[in-house]
């Protein structure tokens, strides 16, 4: 188990990580979602010992490793650009940690070779031992980099945007593969990414990092269904955000009127998931009492299993609606067609003046 306590780090007085506390459990897949510039790479570098934190402590088990040099930490980092040694073969790269580490290196070359073969088998690279790393593909490089770290049996394996440089096809395969490899070894993966679907799909738990702060730490489905703040909702790329305010007991955002949930003092924003919105052609009426707004059709995007429709609201903002083709057939709208967008009150999330989610008493139905 690794614990980060009040970790802070800044560059030229520009804060990169602010008072971050976090527990990383044994044998879990933890993902960290953060937009670029949120401090996610800095956090990994601080954990690996490549940067010094200004405040806070890092505990590994019951040992304080905050000031321990990188090569004695027992953490492994898989860098975004793989950082393979260009003058070595695949085999030499993977065996590097075992043969050359300062603490209890494996001097028996046969033993190194055996474990290299074992690890290469795990990542599916048997047969490439003698290749130079310049002669293998991007996906294979990624696996070599992973194998090179895993062979040293790190207590926590830090992955810096491991799928970032792979093409879409390969990325999907590696998603499954990474989870499988992690399970087989029982090692903790701490996977940092800027891609929300990756963070949600892969993590047992996920952390949302924003401007150096962890703004939500929860299981992916919780994060997805109940984003803790407006900013989390925005990173998830699954919510339409309606900014507004309370006027005489009603939440008003443009033409939309919604009753203020009981117990809420002030509201700044409402969020409606892309797939919880009904599109009504002109003439059709929204259900009585259901919030509705008028918009014009802009474009649609066919994505295989779903279609995403883009509408422009009266105030110029965009509104997205998603239709899963397993539950309904795609609709076609003419460009500039006027429609009414409507949704059910139980699918709305409200955020208070600070941007924090207002937990409602009523149970949320699955949208």
């Amino acid at each position: 188990m690794m614990e980060l306590i009040g970790l802070s780090k800044s560059f030229d007085s520009k804060p990169a990580i602010v008072d971050l506390s976090l527990r990383v459990e044994d044998d879990e897949y933890l993902t960290l979602l953060g937009p670029s510039g949120s401090g996610k790479s800095t956090l990994l570098r601080v954990l690996a010992g490549l940067e010094r934190p200004e405040a806070g402590r890092i505990m590994l088990g019951d040992q304080d490793i905050t000031a321990r040099p990188t090569h004695l930490r027992g953490l492994g980092i898989v860098q975004q650009n793989y950082a393979l040694f260009p003058h070595m073969t695949v085999e030499e790269n993977v065996g590097f940690g075992l043969a050359h580490r300062a603490q209890d290196p494996v001097t028996d070359t046969a033993e190194v070779a055996r474990r290299v073969a074992q690890t290469l088998e795990l990542v599916g690279l048997l047969g490439l031992e003698r290749r130079m790393v310049g002669q293998i593909s991007g996906g294979q490089k990624q696996r070599v980099s992973l194998a090179r770290t895993l062979i040293t049996e790190p207590k926590v394996c830090l992955l810096d945007e491991p799928l970032g440089a792979l093409d879409a096809n390969l990325r999907e395969r590696m998603t499954v593969e990474l989870r499988k490899i992690r399970k087989a070894l029982g090692v903790t993966f701490f996977h940092v990414t800027g891609n929300e679907s990756e963070a949600i799909a892969m993590g047992d738990r996920m952390i949302v990092l924003d401007e150096g702060r962890a703004i939500q730490i929860a299981e992916p489905d919780t994060v997805f269904d109940a984003p803790a703040t407006v900013r989390v909702a925005r990173f998830l790329n699954a919510y339409n955000l309606l900014r507004g305010s309370v006027q005489g007991g009603t939440f008003e955002s443009g033409e939309v009127r919604m009753p203020v949930p009981s117990g809420a003092q002030s509201l700044s924003c409402a969020a409606v998931r892309y797939d919880a919105v009904r599109v009504l052609r002109s003439g059709a009426e929204a259900e009585a009492g259901a919030p509705a707004l008028h918009a014009t059709f802009v474009a649609s995007e066919f994505m295989g299993s779903k279609v995403v429709y883009f509408f422009r609201m009266a105030d110029g903002g965009m509104f997205e609606v998603e239709r899963h083709l397993s539950s309904s057939d795609p609709e076609t709208y003419g460009e500039g067609e006027h429609v009414t967008l409507s949704w059910r009150m139980q699918d709305v999330l409200f955020f208070d003046a600070n941007g924090d989610l207002i937990e409602l008493a009523q149970a949320k139905g699955a949208a």
Partner: protein, 302 residues
Amino acid sequence: MATNNDSVAMGAPVAAPQESFWARNRHYLLLAPGVVWMVLFLVVPLLMMVYVSFWTQTTFAISSDLTIKSWQTFFASETYFGALLRTLRIWLTVLFFTFLIGYPTALFIGQFVRNKTLQTVLLVACVIPFWTSFLIRVLAWRPMLGKEGAVNIVLQGLGIIDQPIEVLLFTELSVIIGMVQIYVVFMVGPIAFMLARIDHSLIEAARDLGASAWTIFRTIIFPLSLPGVVVGAIFVSVMVLGEFATASALSGRKVNLLGNIIVTQVGSLKWAFAAVVGVILTAVMAVVITALLRVVNLRKEL
């Protein structure tokens, strides 16, 4: 239009019109000036040198009757064959010291100076001695190393020595000191260039995998800088092997290198003998460069 294009693309392959021989090969013309230049001023003189080395040399004249007498003289004479050995010895010593001084300097500039501008400034600083002429740089060592030179005065002033050190000037040592000072920068440049190209994330990865600083140097940094070392060594070797000026200026004509012999033989119009030494020098350089290139496959590494 579109269908028209399609049908052309789908049709039977049309034989490309044969370009004329002239059109296909005219890019080789780009080589012409270089080839003409090299043939006239390198290949022909080289062959000429080999040819002349077999001419018959008498005290006052030279004739084109072929003989191996000049070659026999070279290998039989203590003076001349000794000069070959001395040249090799000084070359190896200078190479060793330029590496010993150059590598740490390059390591500092290439790996520990992270600012690219500062790196360039430091490398330019290494070349500052070249702003003065070669002769001045060499001769400046005389007032430094002489019996009443700066080094002796300072050491005596500090009370470290009683008598001036005489071995400093007009010896093999002064030649070596002079050459190392002049040529060390040719070692620093290429090595610093290679070191600066090493991706810092490789070093971080190695550290993360548990390697100590020395292990990282031994297994990552040094092997990756080896092409720079080889290029630097080639620069230094080519220049030192053909040297004569430093040796004659700083040794008081006591240390004769192959270069010095060529100068004196040409001076006394002994062309055949000078040609023998020239051929030997060229052969030595060829062997040295080939051997150095064997160390690293430069084509692959650069």
